[in-house]
């Protein structure tokens, strides 16, 4: 098993920094959902990781901890991460994207 990045929505949606989306070396991997915080009563959207594209470099963790100082990203084992975003379940909208969460080992919802 291997490590992938996991973003805590509650912490991420409290601010609108979006730094990790800009610093990830992989394209289309850290995506942003403008409505992620709404149902939890938070002001902003949240970044999320399409874990099937994540190579586990942890650059986003460094950016979130040291540049943004939010500590919202942790590296977790792919089989213990719970339901998460996968590229096949991501839909793009007008200036946003969202994903139906699914088990990364089993795949499609």
């Amino acid at each position: 098993m291997y490590l992938v990045a996991n973003i805590e929505t509650e912490i991420c949606a409290a601010t609108s920094c979006k730094l990790c989306t800009q610093y990830c070396p992989e394209a289309n991997t850290i995506l942003y959902d403008n409505e992620a915080g709404q149902d939890k009563g938070l002001k902003y959207g949240s970044a999320y990781v399409a874990v099937d594209r994540c190579k586990g470099c942890a650059q986003c963790v460094w950016v979130c901890d040291n540049m943004a100082k939010h500590n919202a990203i942790k590296m977790e084992m792919i089989d213990q991460i719970g339901d998460t975003a996968l590229t096949e379940n991501v839909t793009y909208g007008e200036k946003t994207s969202s994903a139906v969460l699914a088990n990364p080992v089993r795949g499609q919802v």
């Binding site: 800009q22 990830c24 992989e26 995506l31 942890a58 650059q59 590229t87 991501v90 793009y92």
Partner: protein, 296 residues
Amino acid sequence: MSLDYVKFTPGFGKFMPKEYRDMVEHGPFGKKVSVSQVGTFKEILEEHPMCAGCAMTLFIRLAMVAFPNPEDTITVGTAGCGRLAISQAAIPFVYGNYGDQNGVASGLTRGLRLRFGDKPKDVVVMAGDGGMADIGFAQTLHSWFRKEKFTTIMLDNEVYGNTGGQESGMTNRNQVLKMAPLGKKFEKMDMLGMAKVAGCAYVATVVPNNPRRVESVIKKAVLVAREIGPSYIQAYTSCNIEYAIPTDKVLEDAKTVETDRYKFTEYITDEAKEYLSQLYGYKEYLPKPAAAVEKQ
């Protein structure tokens, strides 16, 4: 080389892979996108086999987002790590034989100008320090002396990363590498100075730990190359394998190197400055309004 090129043939859309459909429907083609919007649209760069945490990949990704007209852009590369990612984007990629990339781009630019006239078609060369400063040195410099109108971007990782860590012309003096155990005996080549001497209209150094600056520099370089003359960007993109940088410390290294020896510099000719401020309204190039004169 046009918007039609990235559309589906009628009736075939539903058979296309999801990534391709997303790219056509939600990609940056025909729209204005910026680095601050990444994560909300489908980027043209796709999955690629470059190492995890590679700073070069980060730079290439930001560059692909920053291209002013991706649907009218062709990239040219050569052997080296960079082409592994550049060739995985949804824009045409031409592979120049090792060292030939600036020669190939010269012909390509001239051909495109003959075929399409004034309609801008951007040619962007992205190659490593070995391909540009060592093996392709003559062709790079000659293309600048000939004032060929395209952008040259050096992905400077200061080593031959793809072949086991030999020193390149851009490696720093005394740097010990796996295939340079006694350390390099010569200084790093001054490609920026040579670019200015050879007549580049826009020259800049950049480190990818500031995405918005990368975006602005790439946009300016590509726009200047459309009308004024050659432009050159030298980007520090560390090799975390050959320089043994832990992947989560790559940006820390970029920050240290930026403050230490790779400061952001920008050189622009007066002609290019005027062109950018008049046509594209770049704020930093607009003349400042004269201060109000106090009445006596």
